[in-house]
């Protein structure tokens, strides 16, 4: 895995050097080059390795109950993974809650394997049970690649989470007065050279929601949606959202619901 990272990282380094040496008029060209580079390595998305680990972990007997996750119900019936992520978050009758993929997997780990949610919630990113979670996520979302985003908002709890998520999206706070809309509330903007999807609109939400979770070339890490949202809030300069907390679910419902009709291109590949 380490050996494999070197290639793309070196290529990115060269791109940055090229970009810095260019004149201002070349700014758009530089973003084009990054897009081109993404296409180049799309065939060998390093997420495949993480997803393969996830598949092993899905089938492996683990935890106090020494069981696999093969009977986990992600909404389409026990053990059905194909297309399941494209319809999440969703309301689950058995827990009486709206759950995203990660909180649902925590439910399965607890009920099937006896692994307590706090093992994931209290872990560091990409360590311990949260590393396991990332691998499982990579596996599940790969099985929704190319599927239509189809989140059912009809249940009253889903409708409510959508409304709460929208309120959270516009909520300004903290020392920099930022909200999600500061960066994602307008069309055609970018931060530095990074293009920003307008997440209020179907097209932008589909591009954003539909390309996460993703492998990040810049740090060689696979990031889940919980990880992505956590870092958005870090850069908003707010306090830290608790892993799997309601605000993360509500925002996910708002984003996925707005993205409905788009296509999942997961796992994504990011700078």
């Amino acid at each position: 895995m380490k050996e494999r990272k070197k290639g793309p990282l070196l290529a990115v380094g060269m791109l940055v050097v090229t970009a810095l040496g260019a004149s201002p008029a070349w700014a758009d060209k530089a973003t084009d080059e990054i897009a081109k580079y993404r296409e180049m390595i799309a065939d060998g998305n390093p997420s495949e390795l993480v997803a393969a680990q996830g598949e092993d972990l899905w089938k492996k007997k683990r935890g106090p109950k020494n069981a696999s996750l093969e009977q986990c119900d992600l909404g389409l019936g026990p053990g059905v993974i194909k297309g399941a992520y494209a319809q999440m978050p969703r309301y689950f009758k058995d827990t009486g809650k709206v759950q995203d993929l990660e909180t649902r997997l925590m439910t399965c780990m607890q009920s099937l394997q006896g692994i307590e949610p706090k093992e994931v919630i209290n872990a560091q990113w990409l360590k311990g049970e949260r590393e396991t979670m990332a691998a499982l996520v990579a596996y599940v979302v790969t099985e929704s690649n190319g599927a239509k985003i189809k989140v059912d908002l009809r249940h009253p709890e889903m409708k409510k989470m959508y409304d709460l998520g929208k309120m959270a999206f516009y909520y300004r706070s903290g020392p920099m007065d930022f909200s999600c809309t500061t960066c994602h509330g307008d069309t055609g903007k970018r931060i530095r050279l990074q293009d920003l999807p307008d997440l209020r609109k179907q097209e932008g939400a589909a591009a954003g929601w539909g390309s996460w979770p993703a492998y990040r070339v810049s740090n060689g890490q696979f990031w889940t949606m919980q990880h992505r949202l956590n870092d958005c809030y870090r850069q908003q300069r707010t306090a830290e959202p608790i892993y799997g907390s309601d605000v993360t679910i509500a925002l996910s419902v708002y984003l996925a619901g707005t993205a409905n009709g788009g296509t999942m291109l997961t796992p994504g590949l990011k700078r």
Partner: protein, 201 residues
């Protein structure tokens, strides 16, 4: 008489709608309260909104009158340099404009912050990695000159952008103690000094 009945009917209809929104808003507040935790310098109280932050958290900006009231209140927060000197060293200013660091839960101290200017603005002739959330400030001083009026306005804008546009995306660099007075002076020089690459090709 009929008109009055209709008006009464409408009047009575509103509180019901408000009650529904109030219930949702109460749930929203409870959700925000239970979903965040302090981490390092990013304490939980950051989730509690200032009045103008709340007013600017809708899909649309608040009515003009409310915007003007916010702007008037924010204008009063601006502190101009006591020594009357507005311009520092543009080279230091460039470093501050480029740095986007500070105030996150991975930062050790809440001081020592960057201005993050390039995240949103084009500034100099040679830096191509700039954002477009804010307007281009290329040749800022060259285009605008350096009258007392423009100098004072620019200082105020950096210190507290909400004094000029209540719901501006731009942070209150002075008022929220993101940058020091000295750092803001360096940024001013970056914008106004004829030798600064903002103005000189």
């Amino acid at each position: 008489m009929k008109k009055i009945t209709l008006a009464m009917g409408l009047f009575c209809a509103f509180p019901a709608a408000w009650a529904a929104n109030d219930a949702l808003y109460a749930d929203f507040k409870a959700m925000m309260d239970s979903s965040f935790q302090s981490n390092g310098i990013a304490a939980k109280h950051r989730m509690y909104q200032l009045d103008f932050q709340k007013a600017c958290s809708g899909e649309k900006d608040p009515p003009k009158k409310e915007m003007q009231a916010i702007e008037a209140a924010q204008l009063k927060t601006i502190r101009y340099p006591a020594d009357g000197k507005y311009l520092g060293d543009w080279k230091e200013g460039e470093k501050i404009a480029i740095s986007g660091r500070g105030l996150t839960w991975t930062d050790k101290t809440r001081f020592d912050n960057g201005g993050g200017c390039y995240n949103c603005h084009q500034l100099s002739h040679h830096e191509i990695s700039y954002g477009t959330i804010g307007p281009s400030l290329l040749e800022y001083g060259k285009v605008r000159g350096s009258s007392d009026e423009i100098i004072k306005y620019t200082w105020g804008k950096i210190y507290n952008a909400k004094a000029y546009n209540a719901c501006s995306n731009m942070p209150r660099n002075g008022d929220a103690e993101i940058l020091t007075e000295q750092q803001m002076k360096h940024l001013m020089a970056y914008l106004f000094d004829p030798a600064s690459p903002v103005n000189k090709k």
